[in-house]
Symmetry: C2
Subunit: 337 residues, 2 copies
């Protein structure tokens, strides 16, 4: 029985490509006292991984060259040497891009209940995506009913959830996405009041028509030209939530753009960066709200499931090309043994 | 008896220069029922005036061509047709760059008590400068004792007050100013723990040495290259208060600079613009604190007093050249009639 691992082979300057990783056959580790052995079933692929392998200062230590790629995963406990876990339970946590992980309890985010919702949701709508949407919007965005909330990458795993939560809170929601298919998805699947195609001409004019009173909350997953347009149309007292910078290919050196100070000053607006891990003490609150909304059908989500660990090395670059629809996962084993 | 008025003659593209104004002899207005007639003694000159005469969207209507230049002033009531005011009282408010103003009570910010502090303080340390420092720092900056507060235009009318309030609150204060004289003033007069000359080489290195734990609060009066340096050295959870953009000659079109999103994201930092008029309901609180600190000698201030209304047209441009030390005022009459 081998343990296939995806290891970081070289440090990318920008977006990690397939050639920055290698797949290696290792042996299945034996859990030490206090550890559990997890058989990973779904591996996560996320934009933040670019930061995790970057040498530039970040909110976490960079993944070392030769180390297994850091990743959330959901899997089944196959052996437990920890009193809180039993073989057969599903767990999610930082288990890496590999078949098997022997981990301390600290690496486990939570047990995944066998309650009818797919276990894959633990990596998306009931994982960091949903929690990022929930806390980013509610805590940093401070939306109030009747206000206008604009979301970039509006059909994405985080963005689609932001739009739906904002709608539940009574806001008017405007999504920005790339291409007619995603725009249609925003309107038909995620219930945005308006959806704009940033690849079409005159985003500025389209945004002005969709937000005649200005933008009260901008949940920003892209930075770049889309944000430049939105920032020029903020309402007084606007809140800009900086969640991701998907449109920026490299931060080394930092790209230039129009300075934002005058927008913030004239509109008494604030821009705030969020990192979801800071909200860990409140995750239970977020999961309770999100689970209820998913069960009630008030929040819809999409998953983009790749098959086999061989798909992992190229999967981040694909995200940045926008080829996925919804949360990208890699299925590497069957849910039932 | 004539009423000399400084009127806006032409709309400047960038910083208003002397040629954008003209001095005109008008007649002294008669106050209507409910109005007071004020003899202005000190006129204010402030960086924000650039915005007030700009055609670009702003927090207030632009001053019309041919109109008296909008300005705060402090003066003496010479005739009152309003029950709350009596001739001989000092008042401050939006009275314009002119000898005499007949105004409604709404134009009066407050009466200036004859309590031993110079009436000119109503336009500076006990006026919008002090209040901007107080609310900008305390409300938007949220400083905590032991944290590092960095201030740009640190020896200026607002900046010097920010540094001294931060010190009173138990913060470590680092001032950024232009040239050795202002740096010395920061250290000797305003009590900064460290002061850096942005005109000297290697501001980045000097800032890093002055802020080994990073910058917790940045009170920004400049934008531009100074801010680019400070933003690259924020501490986790930093707050950036956008108060002014003195280093930007024109916002039309907006100048380019390094994008800020990654700093905000990685450091979970926030940038927030403030406009002091939003705090009007709390001005009494701010004035009480500032007056007490001035009387106790815990806050020092400087005034840069020009003589005669003829100095007004060129006075804004001089501010942007940095030729003043402290709050710039124009004395156009004696305090005692």
């Amino acid at each position: 029985m081998t343990n296939r691992q995806v290891r970081l082979k070289a440090r990318p300057a920008g977006i990690p490509q397939a050639e920055h990783f290698e797949i290696v056959d290792a042996s299945v580790p034996a859990p030490r006292e206090g550890q559990i052995l997890v058989r990973n079933i779904y591996l996560s692929v996320e934009p933040a991984m670019r930061g995790w392998v970057s040498a530039v200062a970040n909110y976490s230590e960079p993944v070392a060259i030769g180390a297994v790629m850091r990743s959330f995963a959901v899997g089944r406990v196959v052996e437990s040497r920890h009193p809180d876990y039993r073989a057969g339970e599903f767990v999610t946590g930082m288990f890496g891009w590999q078949d098997y992980a022997a981990v301390d309890a600290e690496a486990v985010s939570r047990k995944v209940p066998d309650d009818g919702l797919p276990i894959s949701t633990a990596l998306g709508i009931l994982g960091l995506n949903g929690l990022t949407a929930y806390f980013g919007l509610i805590d940093a965005g401070s939306p109030r009913a009747g206000q206008t909330v604009v979301v970039s990458t509006a059909a994405g795993a985080v963005g689609s959830c932001v739009g739906q939560i904002a709608k539940i809170l009574g806001c008017r929601t405007v999504g920005i996405a790339g291409g007619p298919a995603k725009v249609r998805q925003c309107l038909e699947e995620f219930g945005y009041d308006a959806a704009l195609d940033y690849k079409a001409a005159d985003l500025d004019g389209a945004l002005a028509r969709a937000c005649p009173q200005g933008v009260d909350v901008y949940f920003d997953n892209t930075a770049g030209a889309i944000s430049d347009t939105v920032l020029s149309q903020l309402a007084i007292g606007a809140r800009v939530v900086i969640c991701g910078t998907a449109s920026i290919a490299s931060w080394d050196p930092p790209p230039q753009g129009p300075r934002v100070e005058r927008h913030l000053l004239v509109k008494r607006a604030r821009m705030q960066g969020i990192v979801i891990f800071d909200y860990a003490p409140r995750f239970a609150e977020g999961l309770a709200a999100l689970s209820a909304w998913v069960r009630e059908g008030r929040i819809r989500y999409r998953e983009d499931i790749l098959e086999g660990i061989e798909a992992a090395p190229g999967a981040i670059a694909g995200l940045y090309r926008g080829e996925n629809q919804g949360k990208r996962l890699i299925r590497i084993a069957a849910e039932k043994p």
